[in-house]
Symmetry: C2
Subunit: 197 residues, 2 copies
């Protein structure tokens, strides 16, 4: 018998019930306005059980869009690098993650997010309230400038992903990781600390 | 009686027949491998009639994806600027075009291109063989470096479009044109002429 990967102990039906309730709630109200408690009520389970199965609202959201990457851990990895390496480490972590087996789930989720305005809204809220906010924190952006700088970084990162993985534009699609790091790292560096006005 | 805009003289059924044949041919064989002659054969019309209705293979392609922007004219507009202004003029032309009424057709076509792998392929070929090749030419990129530099420019441009128009990420989505030009123009400038290795 082969053990299923990633399955936590407990009743698989309960896990699926929670996922379905979460999907409906995120789709109806967006990421930011949906609470674990609301999802627990809709699924008729104890909120503690959702924490037991999924750990956090972010991880539950990633499970609803079938993404098997711990984005918060990746951001912490970037944040652990030296200040002057942040731009290059961000691009290196991004590309190696999307190039990996787990990246397939990211490509599928991103394609869905762009195709459907409702999913776009969920993903936008998730990006803004979790990914960009965390990135701004680990990169020590000044609060007044953080949204604009994080947004500019997002514009380069999202474009790299769209061009390399969704459109498969050559030569970007088959460029080695370190060539991309060398070419795009300084762009991130400038958006982090350079003159942008 | 109100004249229909953009309708050329001739039988509207013929125009629609050509468009349907073009859509099928581009979807089956991609943009690059499809010729006006093949489309003319499939539609059982003279190739000269396709030129009469649509002007060129590029314009026919844009009509099949319902884009009402003359992309070649926009690229020529960018190419007419002074060398040192190219980065900023590219971003200004891009954002003002996508912000305009005609931009709605671009957003719809781009969303479709990213959602469906078959359409992605057509759009990839169109971007590579027309848009990026033309940009490389008007920007006088050295042939050996042109694909990589054009690809990097594409990664920033595609990301700006995806973040501002498809994901509507704030503050990018409502940032004034000139703020985006000031922030992103120098990135394009570096991809055009800077050290990228």
């Amino acid at each position: 018998m082969v053990a299923r990967q990633g399955r936590r102990p407990g009743n698989p039906d309960t896990r699926e019930t929670i996922l379905q309730a979460a999907r409906s709630a995120f789709a109806a109200n967006g990421f930011a306005s949906t609470s674990i408690r609301q999802i627990a009520n809709a699924a008729a389970v104890d909120p503690a059980l959702i924490h037991h199965y999924f750990g956090s609202k972010e991880k539950l959201f990633l499970a609803t869009v079938r993404v098997g990457v711990d984005i918060r851990a990746k951001i912490a990895e970037v944040g652990a690098s030296r200040r002057e390496d942040l731009g290059r480490v961000l691009i290196r972590t991004l590309i190696t993650t999307w190039d990996s087996d787990a990246g397939i789930s990211l490509v599928a989720a991103f394609r869905a997010a762009l195709a459907d305005p409702m999913t776009s809204r969920m993903v936008r809220e998730f990006l803004t309230s979790v990914v960009l906010a965390e990135l701004a924190a680990v990169m020590h952006l000044a609060p007044g400038e953080a949204p604009q700088r994080a947004g500019l970084i997002a514009s380069q990162v999202v474009g790299l992903i769209t061009a390399r993985y969704l459109l498969a534009l050559e030569p970007l699609a088959s460029m080695p990781v370190e060539s991309i790091v060398a070419a795009v790292g300084p762009t991130i560096e400038r958006y982090l600390t350079g003159d942008i006005s």
